[in-house]
Point group: C3
Chain length 365, copies 3
Amino acid sequence: MSINRKLPDEITTLLNAAGSRRAFLRSSAATAIAAGTLAACKAGGQQTQSAKPATDSDHSGGTTAVHPANAAAAATAAAEEMDRMHEAGIKAFPAKTEGTGNVLLAPRMDKDVKVYDLTAKKVQWEVEPGRRVEAWTYNGQVPGPQIRVREGDRVRINLKNELTESTAIHFHGLELPNDQDGVPFITQPPVKPGASYTYEFTVPNAGSHMYHSHHNAAKQVGLGMLGAFVVEPRRPRPIEKVDVDYVMILNDGMHGYTLNGKGFPATEPIVAKLGQKVRVRFMNEGMMIHPMHLHGMHMTVIDKDGWPQPAPWKCDTLNIAPGERWDVIVTCNNPGVWAFHCHILPHAESPHGMFGMVTALIVEK
Amino acid sequence: MSINRKLPDEITTLLNAAGSRRAFLRSSAATAIAAGTLAACKAGGQQTQSAKPATDSDHSGGTTAVHPANAAAAATAAAEEMDRMHEAGIKAFPAKTEGTGNVLLAPRMDKDVKVYDLTAKKVQWEVEPGRRVEAWTYNGQVPGPQIRVREGDRVRINLKNELTESTAIHFHGLELPNDQDGVPFITQPPVKPGASYTYEFTVPNAGSHMYHSHHNAAKQVGLGMLGAFVVEPRRPRPIEKVDVDYVMILNDGMHGYTLNGKGFPATEPIVAKLGQKVRVRFMNEGMMIHPMHLHGMHMTVIDKDGWPQPAPWKCDTLNIAPGERWDVIVTCNNPGVWAFHCHILPHAESPHGMFGMVTALIVEK
Amino acid sequence: MSINRKLPDEITTLLNAAGSRRAFLRSSAATAIAAGTLAACKAGGQQTQSAKPATDSDHSGGTTAVHPANAAAAATAAAEEMDRMHEAGIKAFPAKTEGTGNVLLAPRMDKDVKVYDLTAKKVQWEVEPGRRVEAWTYNGQVPGPQIRVREGDRVRINLKNELTESTAIHFHGLELPNDQDGVPFITQPPVKPGASYTYEFTVPNAGSHMYHSHHNAAKQVGLGMLGAFVVEPRRPRPIEKVDVDYVMILNDGMHGYTLNGKGFPATEPIVAKLGQKVRVRFMNEGMMIHPMHLHGMHMTVIDKDGWPQPAPWKCDTLNIAPGERWDVIVTCNNPGVWAFHCHILPHAESPHGMFGMVTALIVEK
């Protein structure tokens, strides 16, 4: 099993090779999948041209002064330009950007305690190629570094606040002692600018959890102060034996619609081999619901907020509300590049092409 | 079982008779249900008039210069006008409009292949009486024609694009080979204006699925390029044995809040006889969640996205997110005309009366 | 078991004592829980001050003419003011306001019939301290008085309309005879200003239901015409044996984001003793979804819309859509003051502190 699987370098290289999607698509890994498709794209495939293209004037009722031939030409040009933009977006995927979020953070060991240092600080964050925004982060990442521990571990989190306002960390989903719950003026004082604060606890319950700011949180979380806190169970269930374990954090704050801090085409594809099992841990840190839709294969829902569902159930579109975590298993039995996106379409596509909450599950033959 | 049951002609005639809801309500089918109600509406029923109606000035604190009697008269007139508009809407239901969507499309057979011809084209679409909008459609219908096949069928879809921009069809929920998935520049070239494209596949998985544009889709689907793709199982479960099988597609795009392409009072009632079972296949092709609420009876949820739930469960309000399909069974054990609507109230009612995502389940004695 | 448990007077007194949260926190009931926390808040606890606080100018790129020391001072002042406002909000909780909604209404008995009198009328309603709004109410309460009966009871509801527009009551979730369903012009005439109307029925199905206006309802319900209609089962399941039974009605209409008609800090905490079981009956009467998140403990979901789920399941964040009711059990095994709020953060917190859909579950040692 790969933990929060990053693309192996060789795949990443292929995917990004000189902005050339063709190189990727013709690579050994993906040839069987996509070469036929690409050929179709270029050669017209099953496509045939009919005698008379439609024009906008077809339904204009004849009141326009524009000559139909000119209108048709303008419409064709607009359609071509739209397709060009769509194609450019797809070909750019996965686009390189500065900064990677959700990177697994290795703990320092202090005897039996796993120690994690988190510094709250502002950085410039590149959401998509060329679009940089102000981000409030843990350790300069959006989402913050991924913390992954085991049930029963002793954990210490050192928070250093380099922001200009107070903050605090809530460990969302963990059933901690009250004084570790991270809510200023209820369970602790706020952590002032320039100050530090230490949380320490024994990890009580397994599952896909989160950590995020609980002070001025609509703003601080919206700007990036959030991360995954995954707790592996002491005794995994058989259904949890997977080949790829992927955390997907949804957000929709000041950075736009993002998956793990990036918008399409800078989102990260999930890659698996035919027959492998992928676990996706959906986490919503945004302000809106996002029904995530996977093409080509179904998802088997196993956990809600880190708790097993009474029985696994299947779907292809899973509605994920703010604060929720849902864990699903995908058995990768259908080779190809499969779109994987929020099905609130304005979160995923504009007339300029796909953007925002779009990625792909690539099943290699 | 009636497939995507349309009202029998005799019922439709009654429902629409000369704008007269009274005729319908007094008809043999509905007398027992509604006559008492209507009498109550006209005669005042259990209603009694108290001595002193409230007026807006009751809480005005005495600072207004309007004479209380005049204010009371104005309030009464406004309330009467509101009721008049509400009543007119109900009496108009189900209102006749031009065009019907979601009509079952019979295939042509090419040997063993079921062939469906879909033409993408713009039409004017009447959402409610007198409100015509531009619609982008399959075969001039919103939703597009209903495709209903069986697991294992061989199916061919001929798409002809008469629009002024490119398009493509994604078969949402079907686990097809990648090159039939309908995502331009990932699995196929876009289908240009004036061009045609053919999809062909063996239907892999049963359930309530959909087909819709996957190119500039926020616009194209919002304007009507969507339809139901229902796959009947080879071996139906006992719980699937129903008397009425009804597809209800929700949308909230440029045409407003609609059920099967129409807004109340032009929506279609579902009609069943006492004791019958109705299956409703909810499909959300919009951009918002819609919690659909049925009055008078509960719904038993059996399927999610075409996959059986581990065990059926009951509700009266079912939250349906974009891209989701939920199948429910209603055992019609309570006679009457039952409101059936989205419970986000601004999607269903205004001060001018009910509109948008409202219909009725009529259980005839 | 306490029914829709109100705080005992002694607790309320403590909570509100002279605006002093310290008094509450040091009280016998809460000492063990919170005294340590408060000490930490005042003394700095585990907090340490580092040498150099961050300032907004750290990332300003040097183009500002403001002297860094001045900018730092301004940032510090702003942060301090923000914390002060946050602290004031928390300390004010639970704040006293005029008017309490959702108060259990004792029926008059007319032989075997439980009679409830509901008067629809406008009042001024204090949502938070000092913020008064126009409310349209049943009996002057928002939510309306809680009706709690038993399966099979005979119930009569006398509605008197003192509003300036017509109204009607729909008993949301109850499977009543059609003529008791409360939909003007479909099942009854509207109840005119000044008029009265009587509903009478035998309660058919158990569970957490609601009553609300079904006439101009987007406005009337948004202004407060709603309440809980809880039906206790004749044979409760073992899982229903709880110590605290709490109705929590969500709304987001013209009064802002509210729980039982109040916004934080005027919301009511739920109080239980360590080891007790709390049932929360969530009801959404608003226009938006609200994923309710409980800190520190999970919720076990038992019922949807008054119907048992096939098997209980666990979560810490439960997505509740308009019209839905969800019943959960919390086993209070973790002492402390636990935040309990909508996780759409702009419904719960602003730069001025927590507001709206926030309360607490207080587990006393």
